[in-house]
């Protein structure tokens, strides 16, 4: 079943149709915190300060920021490889997250999990695609009737994994409060969605009688208004909902591995909220942008100087 909600208006990347209202200052602060956090990671990588790998959410920050106020303390969030924004929009703990990624004192999970494996205060991420949806269904089953829900972020590529369907089936069959947030950025690592998905997410949800809603707006406030009644329904009626965001991956999959054509990268960049807000709302954007950048620089300097994390092996 697809829920119809009036089409959002401020959807064009260029802002050609109309100027959206400026984002609230707290939202802009969070958006820019995540942006500078991610840019800092890429910079630290280049400087050889980080090892392993990292997946930044450049361009997609607005999704968890929009959802942040629709989620309550008792909700459980399951995240994936591209989870820094999901985390920061959930918990204002950038020091702990960076320490986790850098393996420093104060790390959320002692530096064991790193970028892709964080479990902290009802937020859990893991790096194996598709694994999270059955787990989210189980969490949602446990939460059923409490008014809380389980929210799981997955990418469009992850719809290749069979576990996704096994979970959706049970979630609907057992009526669990599960919010599946699909960040449909049109690409999985290097493979365009068209080359790896036959059919559409909406039709797949429909096959299980799972509610589906597609979001094309890039505006945090607008998205919230659009989703609030649907998320309330997940809680009250205890049922799964798939919210599919049409979004764009502005950066590389991980680091330095973007093989997209320049036009494709330019198209993604044209949807970036960052440039648009900088243009449309020069004040307060410039000020908040500078403040967040400086804040993240301080965080990075402080965390880098910390001693290595300690871990007691079980």
């Amino acid at each position: 079943m697809t829920v119809t909600v009036p089409a959002p208006t401020g959807t064009t990347p260029s802002g050609a149709r109309r100027t959206p209202p400026p984002p609230e200052p707290e939202d802009l602060e969070l958006l820019l915190l995540i942006r500078h956090f991610e840019l800092t990671l890429l910079r630290l990588f280049e400087a050889g300060e980080l090892s392993g790998t990292t997946h930044t959410c450049l361009g997609q920050e607005y999704i968890p920021v929009a959802l942040s106020r629709l989620l309550g303390d008792d909700d459980f969030v399951l995240s994936n490889h591209r989870g820094h924004g999901h985390f920061l929009a959930r918990h204002a703990e950038p020091y702990g997250l960076l320490a986790e990624i850098m393996g420093r004192e104060g790390a959320l999970c002692a530096g064991v999990g790193g970028s892709q494996h964080v479990y902290h205060r009802r937020f859990l991420s893991t790096g194996v695609q598709g694994e999270s949806l059955p787990v989210a269904t189980g969490v949602a089953l446990a939460l059923k009737g409490t008014g809380a829900l389980a929210c799981a972020y997955i990418g469009d590529g992850t719809w290749g994994e069979g576990a996704v369907y096994e979970a959706l089936n049970m979630a609907q069959l057992w009526r669990v409060p599960l919010l599946v947030v699909v960040e449909h950025n049109g690409i999985a690592q290097s493979t365009p969605t068209a080359a790896q998905m036959s059919g559409r997410v909406a039709a797949r949800a429909a096959a299980f009688d799972v509610l589906h809603h597609r979001v094309t707006s890039l505006e945090v406030g607008e998205i919230r208004t659009e989703l609030a009644p649907l998320v309330a329904m997940v809680r009250q009626d205890s049922r799964p909902l798939v919210v599919e965001f049409a979004t764009h991956r502005v950066g590389p999959h991980s680091k330095g591995d973007d093989t997209r054509a320049p036009e494709e990268i330019a198209l993604a960049a044209a949807h970036d909220w960052y440039d648009r807000y900088a243009r449309l709302f020069p004040e307060p954007f410039a000020r908040i942008d500078r403040e967040r950048r400086e804040l993240v620089e301080r965080i990075a300097a402080e965390v880098t100087a910390r001693p290595p994390s300690a871990w007691e092996r079980p």
Binding site: G103, H117, V128, T191
Partner: protein
């Protein structure tokens, strides 16, 4: 100088060129990306739809590979990180391997599942494992591993000639290392390859103090330990590197060594090394002076932070200490 990843890439090019029955499947294997570790670069451009980037569907792509093989083709399936071969366990174990025998007559399934494995790269607990041990002792299934000594083209030919499914592990740390050439490892060590086994020796030492048996991914750490053992502890070791891990090929020369040590990067418990020791004990019972030393990674998840990861995985100093202790 050829890097191991380039060498593998050339081997795949040659294989697909000479055998039009060979197909290759895997996530992001097509150009221009050419695979997460660039091992399949150029193949899709050259061989068209015999090379396919797949959806994220490890179970199904292993099954599709098995289906191609069942229908008379040969299939190479790339699992992006060996950790995810867990998602293909059923297709590999319960279909591909069993089908070679469960229909009461031999059914050929020429399928090679390539698995980039191993840690020491800070990729964290779900992208760093050496899951070889989980596949040992599955009837119909063979395990191979890339080494910096073996010709990959010959290994692919060998695996396909078995007509049964094979897992082919490629330790990710090898990709950027060079292939050894001309029988020379370095100023101290020489090597030779006989069949499935590469043997690394000190010139003129016929009866080494210790023979170390490792899989391909452990080679450099073992060599580092051997160098220290020789120069600091006056202990002469030789190294045996079987490209076939299971079933284990005949390992030459062990009767002449004072001690045998098996080293691997899989986690402790139910290990490949234990299987090697099981095979060797009856053969060496009369010449062994002490139990075979088994070294593996800790019984632990593999942490992302490098300083923690180092502690869990086997490092040269641990190999050295264990051998010194065993011989003291």
């Amino acid at each position: 100088m050829t890097r191991v990843s380039e060498h593998l890439n050339h081997a795949l090019h040659d294989l697909m060129e000479t055998d039009p029955d060979v197909h290759l499947l895997g996530e992001d294997v097509s150009d221009p990306y050419g695979g997460a570790f660039k091992v399949t670069r150029g193949l899709s451009t050259r061989f068209g739809d015999r090379v396919r980037s797949t959806p994220l569907s490890e179970g199904a792509i292993a099954g599709v590979g098995a289906g191609l093989a069942l229908a008379g083709r040969k299939a190479i399936v790339e699992i992006m990180f060996a950790d995810f071969v867990a998602l293909a366990f059923d297709q590999i174990v319960n279909f591909a391997a069993k089908s070679t025998a469960m229909y009461g007559r031999p059914v050929p399934i020429p399928l090679v599942v390539r698995c980039p494995s191993g840690g020491n790269r800070g990729y964290g607990p779900t992208h760093s494992q050496s899951p070889q041990k989980h596949f040992i002792g599955v009837p119909g299934l063979s395990l191979f591993e890339m080494t910096p000594f073996h010709n990959a083209g010959e290994l692919f030919a060998r695996m396909f000639a078995l007509g049964r499914p094979c897992l082919f592990f490629e330790d990710k740390v090898l990709y950027t290392r060079r292939m050894y050439e001309g029988g020379v490892v370095d100023d101290l060590f020489r090597y030779e390859v006989a069949g499935d086994v590469a043997r690394v020796r000190l010139d003129g030492v016929a009866e080494p103090d210790c023979a170390i048996v490792v899989h391909g991914g452990m080679v450099h750490r073992a060599l580092d330990a051997m160098r220290l053992l020789l120069l600091e502890d006056d202990i002469a070791c030789e190294l045996l590197v079987p490209a076939r891990l299971h079933p284990l090929p005949e390992l030459p020369g062990l009767e002449r060594a004072r001690h045998v040590c098996v080293v691997e990067d899989g986690s402790e418990g139910g290990t490949w090394g234990a299987e090697v020791a099981r095979v060797l004990h009856p053969r060496l019972w009369s010449s062994l002076r002490r139990p075979i030393t088994l070294l593996s990674a800790a019984d632990s998840v593999i942490p992302a932070a490098p300083h923690l990861e180092r502690e869990v995985l086997v490092q040269p100093a641990r190999i050295r200490d264990a051998i010194v202790e065993a011989l003291s």
